[in-house]
């Protein structure tokens, strides 16, 4: 409390009661300066023109009555504490008085120096605290507003940056297409005869155009990986399909460099569950590096193998180059980790390609390793999981557990379509369900028009997913020339905490998977 005299405004029309209060104040032995008025109108005037630390007020006045008096005083001075002097008739008003903004009340028949002094001190203290709390709340609100506006600005910048990268890469691809196609057209003799030397040169043009295209891919991927925007379209696929898409680029590159490119594949490789395009990019990046660094005469081997008890298929890209010494190997792996955090300068020929390859392998729940011996060559190896829903779910749960942005909750949903009612293959719906996926969601294809969906959210968020799905389904059917998408029915299986409930989630999955296998038989 301030050391100066406390200025108190007394609002009391009964001269006897006023005298009583004055005496009590005197008894309270407090340094007070009392200013007496008899009407609310006078009081509001006084409050507007002077500073008071406290208002002591009667309720029944010539120009106001009951809680209205307090409300009017509050309006006149929002921050001055008010202590009400109540008479016997006002007892019922207690709570209401506090509601309209009084700090305290004292029955007139109990006004003594002690009680009044304490009430005044408390009221002033309480009011000070209230003002402080309000000030703090305001500060918090301001800080939050500032943060929100900064956030939305950042988000805007972030989106702009991505749009920019998208645009730039699009702008790159059109001239690249033209360069490649004209080179290829001339090379194929569609513009007249070409000599062997010219063919060789045109092949180099095409090869370099491919390099540029890979760089554009890398740039795009790294910008998305760094910000976690790169999604994956994982589905059952086979090794030969993946290799088919990368072979033409790689064989041209090998031909241009005079490198022997060999493929060694185990017979009967099982089905994988991955984003085929991304696995293709990993092979391309590793093989392009191998072709660049292999010996003379150069040989690059791409090997794909697995064993029955291995849950993964292993891809290996081996060269007969100079090899990498141990300290550089360490460096390579450090660079793997740097992706998305710091600037990435070129590390002695190991560009962005390797770092991205590692990230793309992670995205498919695989692992990447490197072995190398100086003078003999290097072998980069990565794994891609086989199509086993339980194993994939287990790896997914581990990934979500490591992801700090995810809440430790996973919900499991089954999506079903009536596969007999529609002759549309699952591809349409698979694409649709994939379209709805967000970061850290997992979609697993079950048998016979069934999909498993794991979402790192609680039940409430799952409801939002259903709404989003419904909206997207309606949008999708607006423009389909080949008839509507089949209706998707969702069943929420439950939400669990991870990692403690991982076992329960896998059990729930197992029930459905086994049920399906039985159904398949």
């Amino acid at each position: 409390m301030r050391g100066n005299r406390i200025r108190v405004l007394l609002l009391e029309d009964d001269p006897l009661d006023a005298e009583l209060v004055k005496r009590a104040i005197h008894d309270a032995d407090m340094q007070m300066e009392l200013h007496s008025v008899t009407r609310v109108a006078e009081a509001t005037e006084a409050l507007a023109s002077q500073h008071f630390e406290l208002v002591l007020s009667d309720l029944s006045l010539p120009d106001s009555d009951g809680s209205e008096t307090i409300a009017r005083l509050r309006q006149a001075a929002a921050e001055v504490p008010i202590v009400v002097l109540t008479s016997v008739d006002d007892r019922d008003l207690d709570v209401e008085l506090l509601d309209v903004g009084a700090q305290d009340y004292i029955p007139k028949d109990r006004v003594t120096g002690d009680i009044l002094g304490r009430a005044i001190r408390h009221a002033i203290q309480r009011q000070e605290q209230l003002v402080e709390t309000q000030r703090l709340l305001c500060e918090v609100k301001d800080a939050r507003d500032l943060l929100e506006s900064k956030n939305s600005k950042l988000e805007k910048l972030y989106n702009q940056a991505h749009e920019f990268v998208d645009n730039v890469s699009h702008e790159f691809r059109t001239p690249l297409t033209v360069i490649k196609e004209y080179a290829s057209l001339v090379c194929d003799g569609l513009a007249g005869e070409v000599t062997e030397e010219q063919t060789r040169m045109l092949n180099i043009v095409e090869d370099r155009a491919d390099d540029l295209n890979t760089m554009v891919d890398d740039m795009l991927d790294s910008s998305k990986l760094g910000s976690g925007l790169l999604g994956a379209w994982r589905k059952p696929c086979n090794v030969s399909e993946i290799l088919r898409h990368v072979k033409s680029t790689l064989s041209r590159k090998a031909r241009v460099k005079g490198v022997q490119l060999l493929y060694e594949l185990d017979p009967d490789l099982p089905e994988l569950y991955c984003d085929a395009e991304k696995v293709g990019r990993v092979i391309t990046n590793l093989a392009v590096n191998a072709i660049k660094f292999c010996g003379d005469p150069g040989t690059v081997r791409i090997m794909v193998s697995t064993t029955l008890d291995n849950p993964d298929v292993i891809f290996k890209v081996e060269d007969n180059g100079p090899g990498i010494d141990e300290s550089s190997l360490q460096q390579i792996f450090e660079r793997f980790q740097q992706l998305g955090t710091t600037s990435r300068g070129s590390c002695k020929g190991f560009g962005l390609g390797l770092a991205i390859a590692k990230e793309l392998v992670d995205l498919n729940f695989g692992r990447m390793t490197v072995e190398s011996e100086v003078g003999k060559g290097s072998a980069f190896q990565f794994s891609v999981p086989k199509n086993d829903p339980l194993e994939l779910m287990e790896r997914y749960l581990l990934q979500v557990d490591h992801e700090t942005e995810c809440p430790p909750i996973v919900s499991l949903v089954v999506a079903r379509i009536d596969s007999t009612a529609s002759d549309i293959t699952d591809d349409g719906i698979d694409g649709f369900l994939n379209y709805l996926l967000r970061r850290n969601d997992l979609l697993l294809q079950g048998a016979d028009g069934e999909w498993f969906l794991a979402l790192p959210t609680d039940k409430q968020e799952v409801q939002k997913y259903f709404q989003r799905s419904q909206q997207a389904w309606e949008d999708a059917n607006r423009n389909r020339p080949f008839g509507p998408l089949p209706r998707v029915d969702y069943q929420w299986l439950g939400s669990w905490r991870i990692p403690e409930d991982n076992g329960l989630i896998l059990n729930e999955m197992a029930k459905h998977v086994i049920h399906q296998e039985v159904a398949c038989v």
């Binding site: 691809r173 033209v178 004209y182 057209l185 569609l190 694409g431 423009n479």
Partner: protein
């Protein structure tokens, strides 16, 4: 490339024995893109029409009813999305198969254009053999003698 082929049926299956030359309309704001496609197709019995904006391409599609449309996505004056929507809304063109050829990448873009009514999605830079294979899904390509 993720082009899905399974659920699509050619809307204009040529009648056996009928030797009509199919027409393909190529739309891209970059004339060199449509020119290279035209050159590629010069060794096949096919008429290639070229156009450079989505808007004019739409008109040409309505008037000349090509057997197949190959279009870019980002173009000034009527982009590919607008073109797809217009094609699907117009009775005369609703059934014409469309191959989208885009520099944009990723399953989100692919899904989006499929949703708008595209039948196939190919990415630039393209291997011409992929394009020929894709075209063959919708029109019969005979090599010129």
């Amino acid at each position: 490339m993720n082009a899905t082929k399974t659920c699509m049926t050619p809307s204009t299956q040529p009648t056996p024995g009928y030797q009509r030359t199919p027409t393909i309309l190529c739309i891209d704001d970059d004339p060199d893109i449509t020119r290279t496609i035209e050159l590629r197709l010069s060794s096949y019995e096919v008429d290639v029409l070229r156009n450079f904006t989505g808007m004019q391409g739409m008109w040409q599609a309505v008037q000349q009813k090509p057997d197949l449309i190959i279009t870019d996505l980002r173009m000034p004056q009527g982009d590919g999305e607008h073109l797809l929507e217009s094609l699907r809304r117009n009775q005369a063109t609703a059934g014409i198969p469309v191959i989208v050829l885009s520099g944009q990448k990723g399953e989100q873009v692919e899904n989006h254009v499929r949703r708008l009514g595209a039948d196939s999605f190919l990415q630039k830079p393209l291997h011409y053999q992929d394009l020929i294979n894709e075209i063959r899904m919708y029109v019969e390509l005979r090599e010129t003698e």
